[in-house]
């Protein structure tokens, strides 16, 4: 296995595009090293991205949004007071992943590109309207998070392409987000269902909403019908019923040891209600 330390994303892209064997990009490594250890995947070339300037930075953009470097760990996000205050749902979703030790290394981009349907940060990023910058042999483009995973373990990234930044939109006024998952334990587990909701209010009325749904389909989903169920409402019981029904209706889960189809479908609706109420309360300030 060859170990590369590119100094910029173009060099990283060229290395990956020109690699003869199996290639992996390395940031936090909390999935890559596990796959290597378990002989699930044995890279011939590993491209460590942590020597590229800026990859450990959390930066406020001129438009009020945030750019998160691709090697920023979950712990660094949780410790960033302003980011946490503006996007508690997104930061807390990331913080749910793994142990303290894993939080010291794990990254948003790794969670996204590992492409597990149960990745906790992904529904929260989808709800927040996060985009990623994809750098490849033909330059860079901005892609919505929901368009990156295409199936379990699969992404829309072409050969030689990699994610070079995470772009969180400006929080703006009267907005709030939240994420919750169901797990049978209290910590250190994989989501059976995960729901992220981000909304904006005008007075008591929801004017914008995005609902991200995880662990109940081959990829995390953006559920427009669930958002439509609460836009224009004050999140009264009727709106919450419609939200729960639309969220459950979007589920296409599998049966496995962690939950049945019926259980996951029901719990998705239950969580959507709770998460919407938390996001609403946060938006009220």
């Amino acid at each position: 296995m060859k170990y590369h330390k590119p100094q910029d994303f173009d060099e990283a892209s060229r290395l990956a595009a020109g690699a003869k064997g199996a290639t992996r990009f390395l940031a936090g490594g909390t999935d890559v090293l596990v796959q290597m250890r378990a002989d699930v995947f044995t890279p011939d070339e590993i491209i460590d991205l942590k020597h590229i300037p800026g990859v450990k930075d959390i930066t406020r953009r001129a438009d009020g949004g945030w750019t998160i470097g691709i090697a920023v760990s979950g712990a660094e996000m949780s410790e960033h007071a302003d980011l946490h205050a503006e996007w508690p749902g997104l930061v807390e979703a990331m913080d749910l992943i793994g142990s303290t030790q894993v939080q010291g290394r794990a990254t948003l981009v790794g969670n996204l590109c590992n492409a597990s349907p149960a990745a906790d940060s992904v529904p929260a990023m989808i709800a927040a309207g996060v985009t990623v910058t994809v750098t490849g042999p033909n330059g860079s483009r901005e892609v919505a998070v929901e368009d990156i995973p295409t199936g379990p373990g699969k992404t829309a990234l072409a050969r030689g392409e990699l994610i070079s930044a995470v772009n969180i939109p400006a929080r703006g006024d009267h907005g709030g987000d939240a994420y919750e998952r169901f797990i049978p334990r209290t910590e250190m587990d994989i989501a059976v269902v995960g729901v992220g909701i981000n909304l904006r209010l005008d007075g008591d009325t929801v004017t914008e909403a995005r609902v991200g749904l995880g662990a109940v389909a081959p990829t995390a989903l953006l559920v427009q019908e669930a958002a439509d169920a609460i836009i224009g409402t004050t999140l009264d019981d009727a709106a919450l019923d419609k939200l729960a029904a639309a969220t459950s209706a979007a589920c296409k889960p599998i049966n496995d040891k962690r939950g049945t189809v019926e259980f996951r479908t029901h719990v998705a609706g239950v969580l959507a209600r709770r998460v919407a109420l938390t996001a609403y309360k946060r938006a009220k300030g």
Binding site: M1, K2, Y3, L26, G29, T30, L33, V34, M36, R37, A38, I46, D48, K50, S73, A75, G98, S99, T100, Q101, V102, G104, R105, E187, M188
Partner: protein
């Protein structure tokens, strides 16, 4: 295959080693630097027995390549005591008998020390969540948690 030359700092000392690209930091610590305090339990980041600090951040050394240690500052359980003088956590673990087989103990000491440096007055819940990635199959955790809580109290009173 040519080896990778790495210069790093371990427990305050500058260290150089040659490693294979596939070797983890845990492999390097144990097999090249003869620092066998960090243990390999699972090798996949689940058990925490290999916990070390890298630039002050708690990580599993089995989930990091040795090559990634270049220019970093690494702290292992071997650096916790000051010469013959045990760290308050080590004394308290003995007093409370907060271990049986001892395989998890180095990782728990490193993790607990990292917590107390960040938060000198943690709640029991905070200690339990912080140490959730350090598995112990002997003690049932209760003595470990009590030892950490009591160390925190002693250290607060001493400062």
């Amino acid at each position: 295959m040519s080896k990778i030359h790495v210069t790093t700092t371990v427990n305050g000392d500058e260290v150089e080693f040659l490693c294979d690209s596939r070797e983890t930091l845990l492999d390097v610590l144990r097999d090249r630097l003869n620092l066998t305090g960090a243990k390999e339990g699972c090798g996949t980041g689940d058990c925490g027995a290999c916990s070390v600090e890298v630039d002050g951040r708690l990580v599993c050394s089995c989930l990091m390549l040795g090559a990634e240690a270049e220019g970093k500052s690494i702290a292992t359980v071997e650096g916790i005591a000051e010469g013959e003088e045990l760290h308050p956590l080590q004394k308290k673990f003995i007093e409370y008998a907060a271990l049986q087989c001892g395989i998890c103990t180095p990782g728990i000491l490193v993790a607990a020390k990292n917590l107390l440096e960040r938060n000198p007055d943690p709640t029991e819940t905070e200690v339990r969540y912080w140490l959730a990635g350090n598995l112990c199959r002997c003690t049932g955790y209760d003595k470990i948690i009590r030892a950490v809580m009591d160390t925190a109290k002693d250290m607060r009173e001493a400062s």
